[in-house]
Structure formats: C-alpha cells, structure tokens
C-alpha cells in the first residue's frame, strides 16, 4: 500500500515572514504565479514540464480553482485539486502531488500557498474584500451559515477561534497527565533559538528564555502569548517532480517516502478522545509506508500553532510515550544543534505564521535541511525528516516522511 517514494520535492520558495509587510499587495493569482516561478527556478527546470497543480483556495475565485489557475498560468494540467484541510492542507497537497506523479499522470506538480491577507482591495462599494469570507472575519474556521453545526451549537457559546479550544485541550492534558509550564515554554524558547539562526524568520535576532515565555500575558489559561503563533505576511510554494526531472534538478531531491492522513471531527467537543489526536494513525501509516523507524528521524518539523500542539504531536506520532512529553522535551535539546531537532527554522511560532501557508513552512523547513541549505541552522547529516500538518483543532492531521538519498 502506498507510495513507492518515486516523487521528490525538487524546488521550493519561502518568502521572509513579515509582521508589517514591505511587499506590495498582490492578488492570490498573481502571488501564485510569482511563487510558482520561484519554485520552478529554484529547481532549475522548465515551466513547460509542469502538468499538475494543487491549491488551497483563492481569494479571487471560490469555485473552479484549478481551471482558473491553469488558465492564468498558461499551464494545461492533467491533475488539479483544492485541498481543504486547514493547517494540514500543505502536507495534504504534497502527498496528493506525489500520488499523481507516481500514477504517471503528471511529470511535475506545483503546490503553492500565497498570503491571503496582503491582497489588493477593490475601491468599489459592495465588492467582497476577500472571497473567503461569507460572514464576519472573526468566524475563522467556523461556519456561521444556516444549518452548520458550528452556527447552532458552538458559535452561540463563544466557542470560536483557536485559543479557547487549544486551551481546553491543554487543561484536559493537565488533568490527565499533569502539566509543566516550563516544558511547553521550552518548546517556544528552543524554536526561537532556531529562528535566530534562520534568514527570513520574523523573530530572528530576538532570543527568548523559558522565563520570558512564562512572563508573557496569559491569553487563554494555561496558554501564554509566546506559546501562540503570530499572524504574518509571506507565502511559499513547492515543486514536486518525477525521478527523471529530479535527476536534472539543481538540488538534492527530497523524496516523499510515506504519508498518512486522518480526519476525525471538526469541533474538539466531539473528539472520541481529546488527548489522542489523529496524527497517531497518520504517523503509523506514514512510517509503515516508508519502512522507516522513529529512531531514524534526523529532524522533525511539527505543526506548531501552539506549544501544546507540538507536545501532543510528538507523543501521538510515537516519538515518546503518551503522557511523558513534558519530561521528554525537558530532557532534550530541540534546537538544530540538539539531540532531537524540531522546527529548525523556528516553526510558525518563531518564523511566523502566514495563515494557510503556515503549514507549508514545515515542508520547506524539512526540505531546506535535507537539501543541505539551512545555513547556520543546518542539522549535520540530515537525511530523513518527519513533517506534520494539523488542521482545525487537532482534528485533521497529515504526516509525511521525506528522505534524501
């Protein structure tokens, strides 16, 4: 079952994350073209060989997205897809691209995630500023449409956004396994150290300590401000190609050896078990498919909207026993120079979260390491990486195993 590992990431682009952007507003279509061109140039391959694309929505068009993109880019495609997995979309896009290539229907597939915020606004009254919104922006990933379970059973109780639900997960974790605030704070501090060695990270040059994290404002108890991502501007994209093109590309190919995807619920209230997350099933499938052991992993890029997400993902993906994560991260050095490097470019917590593009940060992080292009943050002899994607509220998760050969 699964991938043979015959498709590879051959080029990528990740724009520097910016709190207040210096880049001019561009439509997501324009950004798509620009990021696609950069990823193709990074690989050193001709654009004309691209015959597949995977997206995750466009502000300018909420329907027929692949056709709109193929037309705009002037690249006819044999495979086009929109992935709707929130923060797990990026990792989901990578395996779908690999599958299309291994099936032989595509030679090269683009997976691009533009910045949905830094788009030009129409001056004309009544024009929708952002094609995603069918309601107030604060609804976030919840639907206020009539008949939606969230509109009826979540939103009226203020159960919107991410902070509250993730804090509820952390609170439940504390009741079941105990909670060491210094352990989750250490995740943020170690990742910040990685960001300080990474060009393009929004918090480069601003190291923090565990005490700094614990001294930052409590936003939703027990989560502190520095344990939560900060929304940034940016954008990223990846080119996935077959073995023939990989052999002609400029950099060391990053082969997609295994994946898993598991989706259980939308709202964590209805999780079968709030503390056993879908990444467990996804990781088991990914490792099994790749024929790789947990101990073979040289670096992990773990979706990190919150520190508790990293902690529980490390547990549920099988890097440490359930309930022991607090001690495990305390006893380890999670920096690029450490014994278990995690989020070596800072993660979204310290590189910056570019909305939906945040998930692709982790793919770029692992790709940079395996290609040997991580600069000061380079992990020595980095050949095998684990990448996680997390959408919704620990509700839809994807695991990838990437390998250089």
């Amino acid at each position: 079952m699964g991938l043979k590992g015959e498709a590879a990431i051959v080029g990528f682009v990740e724009l520097p994350a910016e709190r207040r952007t210096t880049r001019p507003p561009m439509t997501m279509l324009d950004q798509w073209a620009s990021l696609a061109a950069a990823a193709i140039a990074d690989a050193g391959l001709p654009a004309g060989r691209v015959n597949g694309l995977v997206a995750s929505g466009l502000a300018e068009s909420d329907k027929l997205v692949p056709a709109t993109l193929a037309e705009y880019l002037g690249l006819p495609i044999n495979f086009g897809e929109v992935v709707d997995l929130g923060g797990a979309s990026a990792a989901g896009m990578i395996w779908r691209a690999a599958a299309a290539i291994e099936l032989g229907v595509c030679d090269a597939v683009l997976a691009v995630l533009p910045d949905s915020q830094n788009v030009p606004r129409s001056g004309r009254a009544g024009n929708v500023a952002n094609g995603f919104s069918s309601g107030p922006g604060w609804l976030g990933a919840s639907s206020g449409n009539y008949g939606s379970p969230q509109a009826e059973f979540e939103i009226p109780y203020g159960n919107v956004g991410q902070n509250g639900p993730y804090a509820q997960i952390a609170r439940r974790y504390a009741a079941e396994f105990g909670y060491d605030p210094r352990a989750t704070a250490k995740i943020a501090a170690d990742q910040r150290q990685n960001a300080c060695a990474t060009v393009g990270a929004v918090f480069a040059g601003k190291p923090i300590t565990i005490d700094d994290v614990l001294a930052s404002p409590m936003i939703a108890d027990p989560l502190h401000m520095l344990e939560m991502v900060m929304r940034c501007h940016g954008g990223n994209g990846v080119l996935i190609a077959n073995a023939e093109l990989a052999g002609r590309s400029k950099h060391r190919p990053v082969w997609i050896k295994g994946f898993g995807e598991h989706v259980e619920f939308k709202t964590p209230t209805y999780a079968p078990d709030l503390l056993r997350t879908p990444i467990a099933a996804a990781a088991d499938q990914a490792f099994g498919m790749a024929g790789i052991e947990r101990s073979d992993i040289d670096m992990a890029s773990i979706y990190d909207c919150y520190t508790i997400t990293v902690l529980m993902s490390l547990e549920d993906a099988g890097f440490c026993e359930k309930g022991t994560g607090m001690r495990w991260v305390t006893e380890r050095d999670l920096t690029y120079a450490g014994d278990f490097p995690v989020n070596t470019a800072g993660g979204q917590l310290s590189y910056g979260q570019v909305g939906m593009a945040g998930g692709m940060h982790h793919v770029c992080d692992a790709t940079r390491q395996i290609m040997g292009r991580a600069g000061r943050a380079q992990v020595a002899d980095c050949d095998i990486a684990f990448v996680s994607g997390n959408g919704g509220i620990m509700s839809e998760q994807v695991a990838l195993i990437l390998q250089g050969q």
Binding site: P136, G137, W138, L139, G140, G144, Y146, G147, P149, A151, E152, F153, E154, I155, P156, Y157, G158, N159, V160, G161, Q162, N163, G164, P165, A167, Q168, I169, A170, R171, R172, A174, A175, M218, I219, A220, D221, M225, M228, V229, M230, R231, T267, P268, T269, Y270, L274, G355
Partner: protein, 149 residues
C-alpha cells in the same frame, strides 16, 4: 489566528452575540430547551445517545434516532478561562468560561460556565444545567457547578 486587531472598537460595539437558528432536524432540542427541559437523541441499534441532533445515527447511519429526555447532569470534561474575548461579540463578556461538559448519558456538548468563581473550577467536577432564555424565544444551555453532588 490569535488576534482580532483588525476589528475596530466600533465593530465590537455593534456586533450582537449570534444566536442558534434551529433546523427541521434540530428543532425538538431547542423547543425542549425553551421549556427548560433537555431532550437529545438515542440510537437503539447503537445503544448510545447522540449529540448534536442528526437525521441518521453517526457511525452506523441507522435510521432509528429517537428523542429522549435527560436530566442534563454531567461532569466538567475541560474548560478554559479566556481573558481576551474569543471574538468581537464577546468583548464585554470577559472572562469567558468556555467549557465542554460530558453528560452522564455519554455525549459531550460545548457550553459556557456561569455563576462561578473561575478559581473554583476543576476538571471532573459535577455540573448542572442553567437555562438561559434569550430574546426571540431561544434558550441557551449553560452550566454551573452542582454543590449538591
């Protein structure tokens, strides 16, 4: 996303708290709440209670859901004290005590805790329903600690 800075103070004042709008399938739940009773669905073939209301039983898609009245008593599965509003309509309602309650019959629901000092809350504590009538005839189901238990 962790902030709502894009929203102006004016928007905060204007935006009302959204209320549920029942569907044909969920109507019996909301009608019961309006009379301060709790009715949820039960699937005989699955042998389990179901929440939120559905047309068919989740998991089996059996067409055997029936409405049953429950007391609403349960335990606090988890909660958080949100010192920052989760969205503009709750700007004047902090701290929000967001909670998940597990009914004694099994299912969980999203709710808010009321009439309680946040410092007194603990996961696993017994809670009882508080029926909160809203303008327009809809009633929200909130919770408070049950000192009798």
């Amino acid at each position: 996303m962790t902030d709502t800075a894009a929203h102006t103070a004016i928007e905060r004042e204007r935006e009302p708290k959204p209320l549920p709008d029942p569907t044909p399938v969920s109507r019996p739940f909301w009608d019961a709440l309006a009379s301060h009773r709790i009715r949820i669905q039960y699937s005989p073939s699955g042998g389990e209670y179901v929440f939120y209301p559905r047309l068919l039983a989740p998991g089996t898609l059996a067409d055997d859901l029936q409405w049953r009245e429950i007391s609403g008593a349960g335990t606090l599965y988890t909660y958080t004290v949100a010192d920052r509003p989760t969205a503009p309509p709750w700007a004047d309602a902090v701290p929000q005590l967001l909670a998940i309650v597990q009914w004694d019959e099994g299912p969980r629901l999203s709710t808010e805790l009321v009439d309680v000092d946040p410092a007194e809350l603990s996961v696993g504590m017994r809670v009882r329903p508080v029926f909160c009538d809203q303008p327009g005839g809809v009633t929200l189901l909130r919770y408070q600690p049950d000192p009798g238990r």
